[in-house]
């Protein structure tokens, strides 16, 4: 039983480490790509969830674009 638990954890760790090296595995987070961080996405999310009013969104978005 104890050996099985260790084998499972070891296997999971090896998979997490190895799969990205052969170009597979879970999708990489955005941070691993050389792309611009998405402030616009954050703003849109906040607008959608009501944390920003449309007016505040327009103001902040306008500031961002300028």
């Amino acid at each position: 039983m104890d050996s099985l638990i260790f084998a499972l954890v070891l296997l999971a760790t090896l998979a997490l480490v190895g799969l990205p090296l052969i170009g597979r595995g879970p999708a990489a987070p955005a941070g691993h790509e050389e792309q611009l961080p998405s402030l616009a996405t954050a703003l849109r999310e906040d607008l959608a969830t009501g944390k920003l009013t449309p007016e505040q969104y327009r103001e902040a978005d306008g500031e961002r674009s300028s």
């Binding site: 638990i5 954890v9 190895g18 961080p37 998405s38 954050a42 703003l43 906040d46």
Partner: protein, 671 residues
């Protein structure tokens, strides 16, 4: 099924293997991240992120293994036999995880593993590229603790001797507060590693913006919340259980928890200045690094046994040279990184006007850092003195009171003045216009207390408290009445509405209210305490601080098999009557005769506590320590208000500050 001892040995083997795996995964992750950045290989960085998750998984399972050993009484594990016994209630078996030295280090790793798992699953929304270097720093921190638990003090160390019963948990620790006090302190300590890791990560990437600061605001607040609650619970336990009549002794280990709290408090304030005005950038990185280093120093002082303290574990594992080396390496590396990236830490704006909110935050920081330096000096002075060949010296409460008192007054006055000063600059006339009424109230309170008690220190402090309380009260009133007028809402609805409108700001103000209540409690209970030791026969009475304590007699009982001697006391005064039974219990020892452990009894009210301790007895006579302390309940109430204020502030997670609050550099990373 394997025999019990055999099963314990097998569990220990599994635990050790998992910690080795965690060590290997963390080491690989650090190297793969470093190479991934140097060689510009994204696949290597993704693999490093996988290794970070593997590290977290291994530590989580290793911790579960230790818990399993504790719950199933696997006394072959020294961490189980040294801290528990078969009869110990389940809750204490679970929390005995962090009672011992090596288990407490595994707890540290466990909390860090949870933070690392969270950080690896959720890249920072505002600047996702920060994820890699921040994880690199957190994993490098984890490597040190992995080294200790793998090679110096294993939580899975075993004995080949056949042990039927464990030593049990120290009875003084068998209280609910003590179950979670270490957990909260560690969550606070480790949580403060996160802003440090993001600050270092931002420097490694060469960032100029405040992405790291915005990203870690909530984690820093949560860590500060844990640390505040942990310190308050520890003080409460000390007061209710240890029977010395106080809650804070300026003990090195208490100081070790308080030091990072002080610098983290300074950071929470100066972070505001960087967010609003793009200033104090370098200072914020220095503060967040100092806070991190102080958490290591705190662990070092607690775990090494190098400074005499009631809390320290013994230096059985010779662990302190490793901590000292780690502290030095971490300090040098973070300083080197700051020097290397100094051009990225230049402020966007020149120095502010002398009369501005920025300047008041600066004074706040100078006072808090001054306090931290004084406490650090007091804590380390005995060591320095001894190392220099001098006699062992202890630095006691008089030193800390003499230094801390004036600084506390300064900070409280600042709390009263700061809300009245606008950002950028203000005219003296404008500030004085808002300040004269609170100032007059403060002076009136000072004179009243001076006339009543004759204590100058207390009078000045109360004056400061009144000044700050009236300014804060004015802020709340203005916000509330504006909401009522503007929307025509009822009093209660307007209260909820205006607090909810700017939870971050009013959460901060509520924290300040809590600090004022707490400070009042500390001031009065320190400066206006009455204490006396009396020996009484049954039926005799003693008076103290307006209370009459009548001794009714001694009683012997055997709750749960242990002999317990208690004194019956009837306390009258303050408009009430209560029966108290301070006691001494004889707990069995592993070797030698049973030792008595005292438990105080107290009657706690909103204005006064009557605290009684059974110090000893001779025949039917009892020797009692009687203490009357004013406003101790305010300390616990103040801590609770602080916690509620932080929770309100935490609930505000808007992605952006409002347009007027948005500094230009906040948009820098989209450029």
């Amino acid at each position: 099924m394997a025999p019990k001892g055999g099963w314990g040995i097998a569990l220990a083997g599994l635990g050790r293997d998992l910690l080795r795996l965690a060590g290997a995964a963390a080491l690989y992750a650090v190297l793969a991240y470093a190479l991934g950045y140097l060689l510009r290989r994204p696949a290597l960085r993704r693999s490093a992120r996988g290794a970070a998750m593997g590290f977290s998984l291994s530590v989580l399972v290793a911790a579960t293994v230790l818990w399993r050993g504790l719950v199933t009484d696997q006394f072959a594990l020294l961490a189980v036999s040294g801290e528990t016994s078969r009869t110990l209630p389940l809750a204490y078996k679970l929390t005995a995880f962090w009672s011992g030295f090596s288990g407490s280090l595994l707890l540290w790793l466990l909390v860090l593993a949870l933070f690392i798992l969270y950080a690896s699953l959720r890249p920072p929304r505002r600047d996702p590229e920060l994820q890699g270097p921040s994880l690199l720093v957190m994993l490098a921190v984890a490597l040190f603790y992995l080294f200790i638990v793998n090679f110096v003090a294993s939580p899975f160390a075993t004995t080949s001797a056949s042990i039927y019963e464990g030593a049990g948990l120290n009875p003084l620790l068998q209280y609910p507060e003590m179950m979670i006090h270490p957990l909260l302190l560690y969550a606070g300590y480790v949580g403060l590693t996160v802003p440090f890791a993001y600050a270092m990560g931002a420097l490694l990437l060469g960032r100029r913006d405040l992405g790291w600061l915005l990203q870690t605001r909530r984690t820093t607040l949560v860590a500060w919340l844990f640390l505040t609650a942990g310190i308050a619970l520890g003080a409460h336990w000390s007061y209710r259980v240890l029977g010395w009549g106080g809650y804070w002794a300026w003990d090195p280990v208490e100081n070790a928890a308080f030091l990072p709290w002080v610098t983290a408090t300074a950071f929470l304030h100066s972070a505001n200045v960087q967010q609003r005005r793009g200033m104090m950038k370098a200072w914020n990185v220095v503060l967040v690094s100092a806070t991190f280093l102080l958490t290591i120093l705190g662990t070092f002082i607690t775990r090494s046994g190098i400074v005499d303290s009631v809390h320290t574990f013994s230096n059985e594992n010779g662990v302190w040279p490793y901590f000292l080396g780690y502290l030095a390496v971490a300090g040098v590396l973070s300083a080197a990184l700051m020097v290397w990236r100094r051009d990225r830490l230049r402020d966007d704006l020149a120095a502010p006007g002398a009369l501005s909110k920025e300047a008041s935050f600066l004074v706040n920081n100078v006072l808090l850092v001054g306090l931290a330096v004084a406490i650090l000096w007091g804590t380390l002075y005995p060591l320095i003195s001894q190392a220099a060949g001098g006699l062992p010296v202890t630095v006691g409460p008089p030193f800390y009171d003499a230094v801390g008192g004036p600084i506390a007054v300064g900070l409280i006055v600042l709390m009263g003045v700061c809300p009245l000063i606008p950002w950028r600059s203000a005219t003296l006339r404008r500030v004085l216009r808002g300040l004269w009424a609170p100032f007059a109230l403060g002076v009136a309170a000072t004179l009243a207390v001076l006339a009543g008690t004759g204590s100058t220190g207390l009078a000045v402090l109360v004056g400061g408290l009144w000044l700050a309380a009236s300014t804060l009260g004015r802020e709340f009133y203005l916000g509330w009445s504006a909401r009522r007028r503007g929307r025509g809402e009822g009093p209660l609805r307007a209260l909820v509405g205006f607090l909810g409108q700017n939870r971050r700001r009013y959460g901060g103000y509520i924290v300040h209210v809590g600090v004022l209540v707490l400070a009042a409690g500390v001031a009065f209970s320190t400066l206006e305490t009455h204490q006396r030791t009396v020996t009484l026969r049954p039926g005799q009475s003693a008076t103290i601080g307006g209370y009459r304590v009548r001794f009714t007699g001694l009683r012997i009982a055997y709750p749960e098999g242990e002999r317990q001697v208690s004194a019956g006391l009837v306390v009258t005064g303050g408009g009430g009557r209560s029966v108290l039974t301070p006691s001494q219990t004889f707990f069995p020892q592993v070797s030698g005769p049973a030792q008595p452990t005292g438990l105080p009894a107290l009657s706690s009210g909103p204005l006064t506590d009557v605290y009684t301790v059974l110090s000893g007895w001779q025949g039917r006579e009892a020797t009692l320590l009687l203490i009357v302390l004013p406003l101790v309940s305010w300390i616990w109430a103040g801590a609770l208000i602080v916690v509620l204020g932080i929770l309100l502030s935490l609930s505000d997670d808007r992605a952006l500050l409002r347009r007027k609050e948005l500094p230009k550099e906040a948009t820098a990373w989209t450029a």
